[in-house]
Structure formats: C-alpha cells, structure tokens
C-alpha cells in the first residue's frame, strides 16, 4: 500500500486508508459471523441455520443489520447519556486500531513501526475501558456486574497473551510485525528451510496459551461470564439496543477476526506461503488471501471451542489465568530465552 500511495495527496491517501481499513475490518468479521456463527454452529447442532435470505442464507447478515438499524435507540432514564453513547465507539476504535499493525504482504501495511506488536497489544486493551464505560453508564446492576466481570477477565488474560507473544518476540528478535513474518519466512528448522519456520512449531505452548487467552479476551464461551445470559441477561450489553448494540456485535466479531489474523501472523507465518521468495511482488496480490485463509483456520479453532464447551465458573476462570497460564508462559519465555542463547 505504501508503494501505491506514494504519489497521492494527504487527503486522498487518508481516504483510501480509511476505506481499506473499513473493508479489512468488516469483511473478515462478516465472513466469521456467516461462516462460523450461522453455519458451523448450526451444523454442529445438526441443523441447517439460515437458509432463506440468499443462496444458503448468505445474505442473512445484511438482513440482520437492516433489522438492527430499524430498532429504536433506547436510552435508560438514569443513564449517563454521553458515556453511554460513547462506549460502543471506544470498543470499536480499539478493534480498528488493532488492524493497523497486521501486514498483508511485503508492501501491504497500514503502519510499519518498530514496536508494532507492542502497539497492537496495547490498543487491544482499550476495549476494556469501553466495556467498563458501558457497564457503568447503563445504571443497571446487570450491566455493572457484567462490566466488572469483563474487566477482571480481560486484565487477567491480557497477561498470558502478552507473555505468550514474548516468546515469539525473543525468537524473532524484533517487535516489528513485518519483520516477525520475514523471520518466519526465512527461518530454518534444524537447517531445513523448505517451509520457513512458522513459530507454531517451536512456540507451540505459546500458541496454545495465546489461543486460550484470545478466547477469554473475546468473552466467548467457555469464558463468557461477562455476558452470561442465564445470570446477567447479557452483561454490559443489557441496556443497549439498535445501532449501538450492533456496534458492540461488530466489535466482538471483528476483534475475533483480527485476533485470529494476529495469531496467524505471529505463529503461522502471516501472508507467507512456502515455495516463494518472501520479497516476491506476487505476495502483494495473494498475501491478503493467504492471510484470510490462515485467519479462517485459526478462527475455526476459536469458534469450535466456543460451540463445544460450557461456561466456566468465575473463580475457575481466574485460577486458570493466574495459576496455570501465567506460570506456564513464564516458563515458556525462560526456555525460549535459554534455547535462543544456546543455538
């Protein structure tokens, strides 16, 4: 993208970046919702899912969006109006900022900063503030409890997620996401460089911890205590309706898509496929498709876990994070560091 945009005026460049960013967030999110939430979940429950809107129900999502847009925008009487209205945007913004750090080809990236992955993990935690705002401003006990649970959960699982990524960073020797992809593309496994070195092989423990932490970050089952229907209605979403609910919904699934893309980038080699030179210009064309494919693979696992497991209890959730995942990821870091020095 940087090559294409070199000769354009600032406003043209910004417009194009904005449009591409919108597509890059909404298209994978829609794909995930249709492919996994509508279809895969139905198949796993031995039913067909939406079949009426378009061929195999493929336009169902548009119908759902149209439905949400028609709904009344209800504001609770005792709500903190400004914060209540602002909260969905804060959640959505953290999603949109997260897409910036993921490269889709050797020259396809939004921003190329040396601390890319650090920036990505930092902005991803902004959504906690949005959720807390939503819960507090709703002036509803369900919302507040849901928001507090979500905050505790997101803070607890931010740690193992970051620590799991540290292993990758040590191995790649850089915080730049583009260079992490390059390191995987040019890497070798015991002298064999045929498939590069996707870190899922050497950092398998880190990959597992990252997947579990992502599952918790998305507040999906089995870690869906913040929105536990049977206990809290829908947690911090309880008072939201219409467009604002839709924004939370988009935020949830766009975050799922982007975290999957991030996992694919960090552990599965990103836009690179073995057999070609990583600087090949072809990757600017097929890179996004490869990345989408790898993202769908990771998302398949995330949603598979979602549709299979029942909900944890709140204390089990915290125990898993603090007593299992964080020590495990620390050990992973130590071993990675030692091996990095030895080899």
């Amino acid at each position: 993208m940087s090559v294409v945009l070199a000769d354009l005026a600032y406003w043209q460049e910004t417009t194009i970046r904005l449009l591409v960013g919108l597509i890059a967030v909404l298209l994978p999110a829609g794909t995930l919702v249709y492919l996994f939430l509508f279809k895969m979940m139905s198949f796993m429950q031995s039913r067909l899912g939406p079949m009426e809107a378009g061929p195999y129900g493929s336009l169902q999502l548009l119908a759902e969006v149209g439905k949400f847009l028609q709904k009344e925008d209800i504001l609770p009487k005792a709500a903190d109006r400004l914060i209540f209205k602002l909260a969905p945007f804060v959640v959505l913004i953290s999603t949109f900022l997260l897409i910036l750090v993921i490269p889709a080809g050797p020259d396809l990236w939004f921003i190329d900063v040396d601390t890319g992955i650090f920036l990505g993990l930092a902005v991803s935690s902004i959504s906690v503030i949005g959720i807390l705002m939503a819960g507090w401003a709703s002036s509803s006990k369900y919302s507040l409890l849901g928001a507090l649970r979500a905050t505790g959960q997101l803070i607890a699982y931010e740690l193992p997620m970051v620590l799991a990524v540290v292993g990758v960073i040590i191995q790649a020797g850089t915080l730049n996401v583009q260079e992490i992809v390059m390191a995987q593309a040019t890497g070798e496994i015991f002298g064999f460089g045929g498939i590069g070195n996707p870190y899922v092989i050497t950092q398998f423990v880190g990959f597992l911890i990252f997947l579990i932490a992502v599952q918790a970050e998305l507040t999906q089952p089995p870690f869906d205590m913040p929105v536990a229907e049977s206990e809290l209605v829908t947690g911090y979403l309880t008072e939201y309706s219409g467009l604002r609910f839709l924004m939370f919904f988009i935020g949830e699934f766009a975050t799922a898509a982007i975290f999957s893309a991030l996992a694919a980038t960090l552990f599965l080699g990103g836009w690179y496929v073995p057999g070609l030179e990583p600087t090949d210009n072809l990757f600017n064309v097929i890179g996004p498709i490869v990345l989408l494919g790898k993202m769908l693979l990771v998302a398949f696992f995330i949603f598979w876990f979602r549709f299979t497991y029942p909900r944890f209890r709140e204390d089990q959730l915290q125990q898993l994070a603090w007593k299992v995942l964080i020590p495990l990821s620390l050990v992973n870091i130590v071993i990675t560091g030692v091996l990095k020095v030895v080899f």
Partner: protein, 168 residues
C-alpha cells in the same frame, strides 16, 4: 483391549466435529418446514377426529376433559320399535359436538375414556388459524378429520388384546 480414555475436553471437541461432518454429509435432523413437510409418527397427537355415528352424547369425554374444552348438546328422540307392537326406543341424537383446540392440551383423556370408539387421534398438525375463534372445531370439521386417522398398528407378538379397528 482396554478402550483408550481421552480427556473429556478432547472428547467434547470430537462430538461437535462428528456432528458437523454428519450434518454436511448426511443432512440435518431438522427440515426446512414450509417447503419440506415433516412426517410425524403415525400415533402422534395432532388433532382429534370424531366418528359421529358412534357418539351417543354420553358426555363422558366432556366431563373428563381437564380443560373443559368439549361442548356437547344432544336430545332424546323416540325411534320406531324394532318389532311391530313394541315400545318405541329412546335414542340420543347429537346436536352439537365442538372441541376448542385453543384450550385443548392434547392429553388424550377424551379419546381414552370414550366407550363407543367415537374419538380418534390423527397425526395431522396443519390447522392453525389467524383468529382464535376459528380453532373451535365443530362436528362437521371433526368428522372430516376421520379421513386422516391411520389404522392401528399391530400389538407386539404374544399380545392377547383384541386389535381395534378404525370405523370408516
């Protein structure tokens, strides 16, 4: 050989994945209703049919009905005697036999309790109405349901009970 025990977490993933594959290859358990009709089992409790000739207006069904959704009106009349010079016979005539399916809870007590085999279950289920009052089926409509009553299935081998037949 001892069966290898998998941890429950992995087993659960296997269950959902197996269902996914089965739905994709062999189709789902659900049907796309308005386009594909579901075929209920022959003894399903869809709607109650009335064989009018057998009904004597004895009111047993109406009295046993827990929802009081059966309305019966009848009168007695004198039928001519069987033999010349005999006494005229008293007979019951059915004026009204309505079942209000908006109240009915499909318990089937009326069908069980009828001593004259006038009430039958049929598996038909497509009789929804736009107005709730239209769910009151009168005896003409209830008699029309008789066409859809399936024959009784055979009892299991060794049973000495007499097999009932559906009056046609």
């Amino acid at each position: 050989m001892r069966k290898i025990k998998l941890p429950g977490l992995i087993k659960g993933l296997g269950v959902t994945f197996k269902t996914l594959v089965r739905t994709l290859t062999k189709g789902s358990h659900t049907v796309q209703y308005p386009r594909v009709k579901e075929s209920p089992p022959p003894r399903a409790r869809g709607v109650i049919a009335l064989h009018e000739e057998n009904c004597t207006a004895c009111m047993l069904c109406a009295r046993e009905c827990p929802d009081w959704c059966i309305y019966i009106e009848g009168h007695k009349y004198k039928a001519p005697p069987r033999r010349p010079g005999g006494k005229p016979r008293k007979k019951n005539a059915l004026d009204r036999f309505d079942i209000d399916f908006s109240l009915c809870m499909f318990c089937g007590i009326c069908v069980d309790v009828c001593p004259f085999e006038a009430l039958f279950w049929t598996p038909e289920y497509e009789y929804s109405e736009l107005k709730i009052a239209d769910l009151l089926h009168d005896k003409t409509l209830l008699s029309q349901w008789m066409e859809t009553v399936p024959d009784f299935e055979d009892y299991e081998a060794g049973s000495e009970a007499k097999k009932l037949t559906v009056p046609r």
